[in-house]
């Protein structure tokens, strides 16, 4: 009863006083001194009757009531009940004590104490003290009312409530059984509460199912697609499932949010993305069939991958990188479509993820299968197209069709996976999802950073990255284009080499991806894509509200976009991963799309994350800028042109990324090895502020130096004086009295100016409160001595 702490209102009378008083203590309700123990039995009887008077006022959720009641405590109870309770205080106290529950006791005591408890109860009820068993549930009518009200919501609980009601009725009538009835009465109160809560749970469960449904749908669709290499499928699926499961489990709610938000945007993004992709493709084609296609594809893939990444993060799934030729073929076929879809997809987080996946896969596969760029480009483009198409489909679809998108992505990823046979290792190592996604799509700066991030970060990040990439790429496309072309070629070469080397660490993949992206973004008219990407990224960011991810995504995106100089991508890579620096260079040379893509994915994620985490924004931005270009670049012929740039970039990025990375470890060593024996001194800024405030005149800097010296000297004097005073008093500790003596001798404290006045004048409230004892109501003094 009292021990329940709120469960049973003033149940037992005997145990009441002791138990009741205890709970009050912690609440800190000191005002009312504990009244002498009284005969609660007498009070109980009248209370019972009081409860009967029906209070039709609906009781608010018992939970709320309980909270309010409990918080109220002894003193608050009266406040809660309002003036009406004031009269009942003396009577209520014993009741309160008994129940030990602020709210319930009050309600009960109030009601029982006074025949006019109606008003009290009404006030209590209004205030949400629905938990009072006696008041609300005590009367059969009230209980029934509650049941009626709550019943429709919670069917399962209804019968229980009714049962409780019956029991309550019986008990309520019997005052002796008050305790038991109290408990039972409470039950009905709880029941409705539970019902209400259950209602909520049900809703939540529904949502959860949706996510799981997506998973199932994705999984079901996956097998449909042939292009699922054994490794990829197994690895990807496993990773996907694992990630999905893990993601879903902890953050179902969050994911829902991610899923929902981007959905709406996807629709728009898909179309725009596709359109832009097309434009890019056209531009790229005009410049260089191979290069353009690759770049466009890369861009698309980057975009797609970003979307895919987002998709993957949010939803799960789908993705199993399609492998090889199937994907390639699809990619090539869907190129035109992809462009459109890409643009739109980018915007939609999910679609982007898919696209990215497709791109990656396409890129990877292209690299693995044909180390010829053309092929890769075609594949990438094909994949991109596929993704784009799918994305376009997805975008028009209601955002709720994330599952479908997933499927699309999975489909797209399947072909990509096939292609990325060689990159399987890389892909798998990185993130199954990420690698697949970002591989190519990310190339356009959007995808790469996004794709990488996808694996690690959620849609928000991806979107943000995309946005950044778009923004950056827009400005620097032209410059990068030429460079990227060279770089991309190099990247492909490197990627090819890398692929052969296998065992590519994620870093390598990322680097490649980043480089590819950088190249791609630079080389191609990723403008459109960039535009889309940033918009997509922005949207994703908004939706995701993931502050953490968004900044990263932004960085990454900017990185991708800002792939003006090949160096940047290299920077990005190197910044994130020192070991990658060297491989990055190699990768660039190789121009292994697959690798790049994988790298891009990894890099993007890694770049985005570490860059944001470690390096300052300018640095991280640079890095991010670099990574996206890298990611995009690989598939493009721009690699060739970018070679020189990349060469410079690697050195560049190495320094910067290394620096970025180093700060993490180096500072630690420095700190441990060097101990700065700092001399304690009052902060200069504080002295300046105080002196300036008192002087009310401009003060030269030299004058401040003198003031500092004076303050040091003053503290020295002060400590000597204090020691003398405390020693004089036979103490070893300086007390406030010593300080007052000091100030009196200084002439600050006089008979006319007591210390307290000085305290009140110069010290802020917090300190005043500590120094000057203040009396508060309830015969309490603060600070307590």
């Amino acid at each position: 009863m009292a021990s329940r702490g709120g469960g049973t209102p003033a149940a037992s009378g005997a145990s009441g006083p002791a138990e009741l008083q205890l709970p009050q203590g912690p609440r800190g309700l000191s005002p009312p001194p504990p009244p002498p123990p009284r005969n609660y039995a007498d009070h109980n009887a009248p209370r019972r009757r009081r409860n009967y008077p029906p209070h039709t006022a609906p009781r608010p959720l018992p939970a709320l009531a309980r909270v309010s009641r409990e918080e109220a405590g002894g003193g608050n109870r009266w406040a809660v009940t309002g003036p009406a309770m004031a009269d009942r205080r003396p009577r209520a106290r014993p009741g309160l004590r008994r129940s030990g529950h602020n709210a319930r006791a009050v309600a009960q005591t109030g009601s029982s104490v006074e025949n006019k408890s109606k008003s009290v109860r009404s006030t209590l009820a209004k205030q949400g003290l629905g938990v009072f068993p006696d008041l609300r549930n005590g009367t059969p009518r009230l209980m029934l009312k509650r049941v009626m009200q709550n019943q429709p919501q919670v069917s399962p609980l209804a019968p229980q409530i009714s049962n409780h009601e019956d029991t309550k009725e019986a008990h309520s009538e019997v005052p002796s059984q008050r305790v038991s009835s109290m408990g039972e009465l409470q039950l009905p109160d709880v029941a409705p509460e539970d019902t209400s809560t259950t209602v909520f749970n049900m809703k939540k469960k529904r949502r959860k199912f949706s996510i799981s449904e997506f998973e199932r749908a994705a999984e079901s669709r996956l097998p449909q697609y042939q292009a699922q290499s054994a490794l990829d499928s197994t690895v990807m699926t496993r990773s996907l499932r694992m990630s999905v499961g893990s993601l879903l489990a902890p953050d179902t709610v969050e994911k829902r949010g991610l899923l929902r938000r981007p959905k709406t945007r996807r629709a728009v993004d898909m179309q725009a993305f596709e359109g832009r992709v097309e434009q890019n493709l056209l531009k790229s084609k005009g410049q260089n069939d191979l290069v353009d296609s690759q770049s466009a594809s890369v861009i698309r893939t980057s975009m797609l991958t970003s979307d895919a990444e987002m998709m993957m993060n949010s939803t799960e799934l789908f993705v199993q990188p399609l492998l090889d030729e199937e994907s390639q073929n699809k990619l090539s076929a869907l190129e035109p479509q992809l462009s459109d879809s890409k643009t739109s997809a980018q915007r939609s987080p999910i679609s982007d993820a898919d696209q990215e996946e497709a791109r990656l896969e396409g890129l990877v596969s292209s690299v693995s299968t044909n180390q010829e760029r053309t092929q890769r480009y075609s594949k990438s483009t094909g994949l991109d197209d596929e993704h784009v198409d799918r994305m376009s489909h997805v975008s028009p679809e209601t955002p709720a069709k994330q599952g479908e998108e997933k499927q699309d992505h999975s489909q797209q990823s399947n072909p990509v996976a096939k292609i990325s046979v060689t990159e399987e290792e890389v892909v798998c190592s990185v993130y199954r999802w990420n690698s697949s996604l970002p591989s190519k799509s990310s190339s356009t700066h959007l995808g790469s950073p996004v794709t990488l991030n996808v694996s690690r970060m959620h849609l928000r990040q991806v979107v943000s990255h995309i946005i950044e990439d778009l923004e950056v790429s827009d400005t620097e496309e032209e410059m990068i284009n030429t460079e990227n072309g060279v770089e991309q070629k190099k990247i492909f070469q490197e990627a090819a080499e890398r692929g052969a080397s296998a065992g590519h660490s994620e870093h390598l993949e990322k680097k490649l991806a980043e480089k590819a992206e950088l190249q791609i973004t630079a080389g191609h008219a990723s403008r459109g894509e960039t535009e889309v990407a940033p918009s997509a990224g922005k949207e994703v960011e908004e939706g995701s509200t993931g502050a953490h991810s968004s900044p990263r995504a932004e960085h990454e995106i900017t990185r991708g976009i800002g792939a003006e100089s090949l160096g940047r991508p290299s920077h990005a890579f190197s910044s994130f991963e020192k070991p990658e620096v060297t491989p990055v260079d190699e990768i660039d040379e190789q121009g292994d799309e697959l690798q790049d893509q994988a790298m891009m994915l990894n890099l993007d994620s890694s770049v985005g994350e570490p860059a944001e985490d470690e390096a300052e924004q300018p640095e991280s931005q640079e890095v991010s800028m670099k990574t996206p270009t890298f990611v995009r670049a690989p598939p493009h012929k721009l690699l060739l042109s970018a070679k020189p740039a990349k060469a410079s970039a690697p050195s560049f990025p190495q320094s910067s990324p290394l620096k970025l990375l180093q700060p993490k470890t180096v500072p630690k060593r420095l700190r441990t090895s060097q101990k700065k024996p700092r001399e304690p001194q009052v902060p200069r800024s504080l002295i300046k502020a105080i002196f300036r405030h008192f002087a009310k005149m401009p003060v030269t800097r030299d004058a401040f130096q003198i003031v500092e010296k004076c303050s040091e000297r003053y503290f020295k004097q002060l400590s000597d004086d204090l020691e003398a005073y405390s020693h004089h008093a036979g103490r070893k500790t300086v007390e406030a009295a010593d300080l007052e003596v000091l100030m009196r001798r200084q002439g600050l404290v006089t008979d006319k100016m007591p210390l307290r006045v000085l305290i009140e004048r110069h010290l802020p409230l917090e300190y005043r409160r500590l120094l000057i004892p203040v009396a508060v109501s309830g015969n309490k003094v603060i600070p307590s001595k």
Partner: protein, 76 residues
């Protein structure tokens, strides 16, 4: 804008000068208060000196002369 008092710093300073000396719970706040009043007096004195020199800015020499006086006054 005034900021919070550097309580720990004050404690360290006193500890550095007098290691064996202890401080009561809120005694450092009073130390901070005395330091504030010291700076207050110092600023007033420096301002007066600047006025006397018909200067609109407080120069180091004003501060030095002010410090001499106030430090002497602030001895317990």
């Amino acid at each position: 804008m005034k900021r919070t008092a550097p309580r720990s710093t004050l404690r360290k300073i006193i500890k550095k000068h007098k290691p064996q000396l202890r401080l009561a719970a809120n005694a450092d706040l009073l130390v901070h208060l005395s330091f504030l009043l010291f700076l207050h007096r110092l600023a007033e004195e420096a301002r007066t000196n600047a006025f006397e020199n018909k200067s609109k800015i407080i120069k180091p020499e004003h501060t030095i002369s002010a410090a001499k006086v106030i430090l002497k006054k602030s001895r317990g």
